[in-house]
């Protein structure tokens, strides 16, 4: 378990984190969402010991994260950075060794990773000679090269083309399957929805929603029932006194119930109005959940 417990941080009078707590389970991919300046990067930096929290702690396997445990964390900072003039393989090897690998294992791991990313021909090239996309790959490799037990990645998908996104997603899934907890932040909510087992939404320095995507949908206050009766308008629904119609178009009606238990009453009314082709609770997208959580 990777636990963030009651983190607080302020810079001067500016409160950046206000009691941030959440947990990433082993083998869980946790998407960390929030608007710019919500405090995602600060939270991650606290876990890596780069920023000192005013209160609270980060624990891994029940112990407060210290420098020893930190070496088992793979970290990709939001502001990318490696040595521009150092050959890529040598560079990865260096980081692997700083994280505790012996020379042989570090060499092998660096080579394998780069070859797996299609950079087998570029091992001896200095980083600055690579294209930006390839530099981004090397940056990710730097986070993965020591085979970390925990992954904390700040916006790992930003700047990647669709192929790059798929390759990274596959790589992360493989590590998740080994039981590695993966925490990553992203603005691309569709991606988070597709990849993550759990999501945390940070707004104004607080976790405003946290859990699996399904749990978040359950908790959605504004659950909508979607009914499609081709060739009708929404008048049948408007006549019901226990619903509120949100929208109606082309036979499709979206409505909310005062009492969610009366969904079958809606179905009966709909069937009376015509031939029902679709009926069900609408699945709100993460974007909608996010908007509502942030607005609340």
């Amino acid at each position: 378990m990777l636990e963030f417990d009651g983190l607080r941080k302020s810079y001067g009078t500016n409160l950046v984190l206000d009691d941030v707590s959440f947990t990433v389970a082993p083998g869980q991919m946790y998407g960390f969402c929030g608007a710019n300046g919500a405090g995602k990067t600060t939270t991650m930096r606290i876990a890596l010991g780069l920023v000192r929290a005013d209160a609270g702690q980060v624990r891994w396997q029940g112990r407060v994260v210290d420098l020893q445990t930190r070496r088992r964390i793979g970290y990709m900072p939001e502001e990318r950075g490696l040595y521009p003039k150092m050959p890529v393989a040598e560079q990865l090897e260096y980081f692997a060794r700083l994280h505790g690998m012996n020379t042989g294992a570090a060499k092998k791991s660096a080579k394998d990773l780069l070859e797996g990313m299609g950079l087998g021909q570029r091992l001896k090239d200095p980083l600055e000679k690579l294209s930006l996309g390839n530099q981004q790959r090397v940056q990710l490799a730097a986070a993965l090269v020591s085979n970390p037990d925990v992954l904390i990645l700040d916006e790992p998908f930003s700047g990647l083309d669709p192929t790059g996104v798929d390759a990274l997603a596959a790589n992360l899934s493989e590590r998740r399957a080994r039981g590695v907890p993966v925490l990553f932040s992203s603005h691309q909510l569709d991606l988070v929805e597709r990849l993550c087992d759990a999501v945390g939404i940070l707004a104004g320095g607080r976790i405003v929603a946290s859990g699996t995507v399904d749990q978040l949908r359950e908790g959605e206050a504004k659950r909508q029932l979607r009914v499609v009766i081709p060739g009708t308008d929404g008048s049948w629904a408007r006549d019901l006194d226990f619903v509120r119609v949100d929208s109606e178009a082309n036979g499709e009606v979206l409505l909310q119930l005062e009492d969610p238990g009366r969904d079958q009453d809606v179905l009966s009314a709909a069937m009376a109005a015509g031939s029902v082709s679709q009926f069900g609770w609408r699945q709100p997208s993460l974007v909608e959940i996010f908007r509502e959580a942030v607005a609340a």
């Binding site: 780069l50 000192r52 420098l67 970290y75 040595y83 060794r97 700083l98 042989g104 037990d149 590695v180």
Partner: protein, 403 residues
Amino acid sequence: MSEKSAYDRTADVPMTSSRIVRLIARREVSTRLKDKGFIASSVFIILLIMGSVVFQVLIQSGADEVAVGVTGEPQGLSAAIEDQASALGLTAEVTEYDDEAAVREALEAEEIDAAVIDAESVLVNESLDERLRVAIEGAVTGLTIADRLAEEGLDPGILQPVSLDVTSLKPVDEESDEKAIVAFIAVLLLYTLLIFFGQFIAQGVVEEKASRVIEVLLAAVKPWQLLAGKIIGLGVLALGQLIIICAAGLGAAIAFDVITVPGAAIVTVVQVLGWFVLGFVLVAALFAVCGALVSRQEDLQSVLLPMTLLLVAALFLAITAGQNPDGTLAKVTSFIPPLSTMVMPVRVATGAVQWWEIALSVALMLVAIVVTVRVGGRIYSGALLGKGGRVKIQDALASERVS
């Protein structure tokens, strides 16, 4: 270390501080050795120092030795010129020629520096060395007076100078001049290398900040380990360079007889090496901390200026101390780090320094190193993640991270 791991950790190495510092130092060394700019400037410095030693050798070897040709009367002029010259600190090699034509030829062929003809005129190629002129005049005058005395029936022996019995209260150290020259060259060398490597350290620190690799590094190592690794890595390179220069310089100096007492010079060199190690650690730490305060190479020179001026001041004080090693200024500054690293070796070489003075100076230096690495390490650590313009020292101390 975590109890459970998703991967096989049997091949992992325990990460002690010394291991981390070694890894960082090794990277510094190997990166620099591959850096063409570094190699080029190193070679330039070595050549510069060698060149100045060779220049010194040429000047010294030519200056105090003269060759004189003599022809005609009177008898004994050759010996008289040699005597007079040696009293003036010149080594004159006098050759007698059969006639004026022969001596002229030798002069034109630059075999001799001056030709004395019949004790009446002197021929030279360009100009006559002032001391040599005095020597020749003295020799000729002495012989002439002796001749006239003999003509008057007097014993020329009355011209023998009275020999004074001289007792010195402070015996002059025969070796001190040589020691002073060696110490001066060594201090110049120290200054050059400290500035050179200080710049490299500061640039390396800024490079890590500018490229943002610092955040990846600090997630795995402590700032002081990074600082120590850098200082040790570049220190090894600097010491290597210094040893090459010293060995070659000493070798050349001994081979060309500039130094007649190699033992004393070697002691001075070893002493300077010791001071270099102390001074390097302190100066490197100061430069690194300054480098951490800025994020771009363009801003580096302005923060380094005070440090550079400090070193210039140290060089100036060291030169002053060479002229007046027991003066108050030299005495005081030989205890103040980092000035002491350049002033003390000069004082030791040229003046009378008590053993406790050296011990005190070294102790103060060590204290300064510990304080700088501690406080500097905190500033370094607090400033490393700061970005944009210049980080203020107090902000850096306030935002120092946990570990």
